[in-house]
Amino acid sequence: MNDKKKKNPIIGLSSATVNKPNTSNEFCFWLAPEIIVNPFDIMEAEQVAEEGMSLTFGIINDLEHITDAPSHLSNFISNDFGQVAGEPNTVRQGTTVARAAVLSNDQSIYMPVMNDYSIRFADERGIQKALGIDTIDEQYRVPAGLIEMSNKTRAVVFLDSRYLLGPEGAHLNITGISGLATKTSYAMFLIQSILQSVEYKDKIGVIILNVKHGDLLTLDQPPDKGLSVKDHGDWECMGLNPKPFDDVHYFLPEGKDSSTTGRPNSFRLPERNWCRYAYSLEDTYQNLDLLLSNTLDPWETIGALIGEITQGLSDPKTGLWGPYGKWIDVSDWLSLLNGPPLFDPDKGQAQRIGDVRAISVARFKRLLRRIVVTRQSGVFVDHRPKDVKNLRSEIANIKGGQTLVVDIATLTDDEQTLVFGDILRTIHALYAGEGSDRKDLPEKVIIFVDELNKYAPLREKQSSPIIEQVLDIAERGRSLGVVLFGAEQFMSVVHQRVVGNCSTNVIGHSGSAELSSYAYKFLDPAVKANISRLIKGDLVISHPKFNQPIKIHFPYPAYKQPVYGQSGT
């Protein structure tokens, strides 16, 4: 005990006053002179117990320095009525008081911390007790980063895989303007950590959407100059091997000139394991609703028309592609747009389809033409060549241990929505119905997408096919084994039900205007202020196992990243 006291000295004493009493949820303590602490440092306070003492752990939310000066005017007068030069003879009495939110007590005693009880920095074991990590079985522990405190104490933060990948909870949301590629770097680090640490790691499939430049098209390559000694040390400290992803398959979009050059429409070409994908009408006819997700359809006329088209292009016997009846001549995008039954070439005008009036059909044609013909990136093709893959089929064929990277960086917004929706729909169908009895189906599929707000924007009333698809995964994925890792700059613009279903939230540096929105209501105001001061690479994580959000630090991911992406600390 004496040895412990020497190593871990008392840094202050708890303080309860008339105006600021300690409670079961919070305690204050003053700091001895010269002691430096920071928000998010984890402290241990001595606490009563039936026998001996127990320890109450708290995380510092806020620090304030108080003096005995009742007003600023008193300080002005104390300095000889405003003399700025010179030092007063006696230092005015003051102290720094820290406000800590209670994390836990090692004997489950939630009495308020009494006045004048000793406060120390928690040590590594203390931090893990504070966070409840000691109650997570080894098999469920997923290293999620490091806590680094002001006294240089470090501790590994573990998430409980049951709350990250299901079945207790699932999904992860990363938000903030923390810096170029920080959110992505963290997602990649965490996925790598999952793939190395969970028991059923070979039964996890990962689908990653590359939305920016060529950021994620080199996941299987090591960094050019290797990792720094510190990053290497951090990886190993967490019991992880700093290595690139294994068994990565890249799917790159077909471009306008791909058929002649053979080169996909991507910012860079992966070294290996890549193929092109494209969408013909046959590949898309069941997902036309996703393609028009961003179109306002208050009377659902477009929805009704899409229903008619999908039905007309499906073989009534098999449910697969097979135009029949008046749709028999429709074979590709152009024949759909320029021929019957949507368009009468003789009259040169759109035709009524079922209950949908001609004027609505004309609007649909205009919208679809813009998306798949006039403003398309090249991903829509009349007939998909043999060497160009059908993304849906490829995704449906996912196996455990595989990482599938789908590049959508160069696609238009509508095309991106189609691809993401198609992936979600395919995976959902795979786990909820048609392929769920496949033997080699991964136990879990993690889908990572940046700019989640594009696909699940905050809409109070109106929904859309893509929102419905994301909500399906967010609300039912936990039990199916489908896990969504989403990222965005502003959580306030993401659908509340999507965010609400994420059991783990990671927040990087964010502006105070953003933090004042409803989405961050679960955070203490002081924590919000601290988040607005986070430096690039630092993140605050909220996880069901932790009673309070904590600040973590993570090592640079061990795959090759573009030069501008020197992030992830």
């Binding site: 008193s74 104390s78 000889d80 030092e87 007063p88």
Partner: protein
């Protein structure tokens, strides 16, 4: 709390012996009189009202001037004052004890004193802090048997029994018809007694480079007793925030001589100046006044002025140079001030204020005493 527990037992016992008119709702705190210091000054100096002897010498001038400029001497230049001592008390009226046709007020008090040391960086730390518990009532107003009984009751407790009618330098002058007023003086006397003991203990730590400021006058008998031993001036300065307003000062002789009231003298005292030192008690003590703050910042011309006192065992005039340094260092003590916390901020020295706070913080809370000290 141990003292309170004992005290409650004593009160319970006494209530069975004699009739008691208890204070309604328990103990009532006696509030301090703001002008107490001034009344004390009068009490201890009542014989002298005219001061005509300047008791300092400056080899460079034949007659020391009445006012001298004292530029602040900051801690960075010369860390002159290192120790600061102040006392405080809190007293509670418990009730009136009736024994046949006689009666006496009964008061419980806590007196305390604190000695602070100022470190090189300007921060302060506590060297000594002592609190005493006092039960005071009039011995004259009760029977010897009852007094002896009370003495027996408190024998094993850490409470001191004080006869409030016993004459002392302070309470004898504060006596009037109501013994409760006299009790305040008695308790104050006990506080000064504690301060004196602490001064005596602190003397070995002091030197020409390590001076001590004590709050209030040095004329209190036990204090002066400790400071007038030997030939050398002890490095202790008494600083009074408020002082008697009736003395007159004679300066110069013959036709040029003039007599000034204290108001006249102090109104002419400029910012960062001191008056010449006058002698009191036949030169055993010298005193002078220092203006800490500019008049323009204050409400009244004689605000911002403190009275300094120095014990003078040799009774010889004090070197002006020493008085200058003492005063210069005092002027520098004006920063920091307890402005907003004490209405005497303009004359309060912050380390003294801190010593007073330390004592007050260690005294029992009013609510605790009120609820605990009951006669049943």
């Amino acid at each position: 709390m141990k003292a309170l527990t004992s005290m409650r037992g004593i009160l319970k016992n006494l209530s069975k012996q004699v009739e008691v008119l208890s204070a309604i709702g328990g103990a009532i705190q006696d509030l301090e009189h703001p002008d107490f210091e001034e009344r004390e000054d009068m009490a201890m100096n009542e014989e002298e009202k005219i001061f005509d002897a300047i008791h300092e010498y400056d080899p460079s001038v034949a007659n020391p001037p009445l006012f001298r400029f004292v530029q602040p001497l900051m801690r960075g230049q010369n860390h002159f004052y290192r120790y600061f001592l102040d006392g405080s008390f809190r007293s509670y009226f418990l009730g009136t004890m009736l024994e046949h046709e006689r009666e006496t007020p009964v008061l419980f008090a806590q007196v305390g004193a604190c000695l602070l040391h100022r470190k090189d960086d300007g921060s302060v730390c506590k060297i000594a802090l002592e609190v005493r518990n006092i039960l005071t009532l009039s011995k004259e107003r009760i029977s010897r048997t009852l007094w002896n009984h009370i003495e027996n009751l408190i024998e094993d407790s850490d409470i001191k029994l004080v006869d409030l009618t016993e004459q002392d330098i302070i309470s004898k002058k504060l006596a009037d018809f109501d013994l409760r007023n006299k009790a305040a003086g008695k308790i104050c006397y006990e506080m000064h007694l504690l301060e004196s003991e602490m001064i005596n203990k602190a003397l070995p730590y002091l030197s020409e480079e390590n001076w001590m400021i004590i709050d209030g006058s040095l004329l209190f008998s036990p204090t002066l007793y400790y400071l007038r031993g030997g030939e050398e001036t002890k490095p202790v300065v008494g600083v009074s925030k408020s002082f008697r307003k009736d003395p007159q000062f004679a300066y110069g002789r013959g036709p040029k001589g003039e007599r000034k009231s204290i108001f006249k003298l102090l109104s002419e005292l400029d910012f960062e100046h001191r008056t010449a030192a006058f002698k009191a008690r036949n030169g055993e003590v010298v005193f002078w006044y220092v203006r800490l703050r500019e008049q323009k910042h204050l409400d009244y011309p004689i605000m911002g002025i403190i009275k300094g006192e120095l014990a003078n065992p040799s009774k010889k005039p004090i070197p002006s140079e020493l008085l200058d340094i003492i005063s210069q260092a005092l002027v520098a003590e004006r920063s920091v001030t307890p402005h907003g916390q004490d209405r005497r901020w303009h004359v309060h020295l912050y380390p003294i204020f801190l010593a007073e706070c330390a004592v007050k913080e260690s005294l029992l809370r009013r609510e605790v005493v009120q609820q605990f000290l009951k006669w049943r």
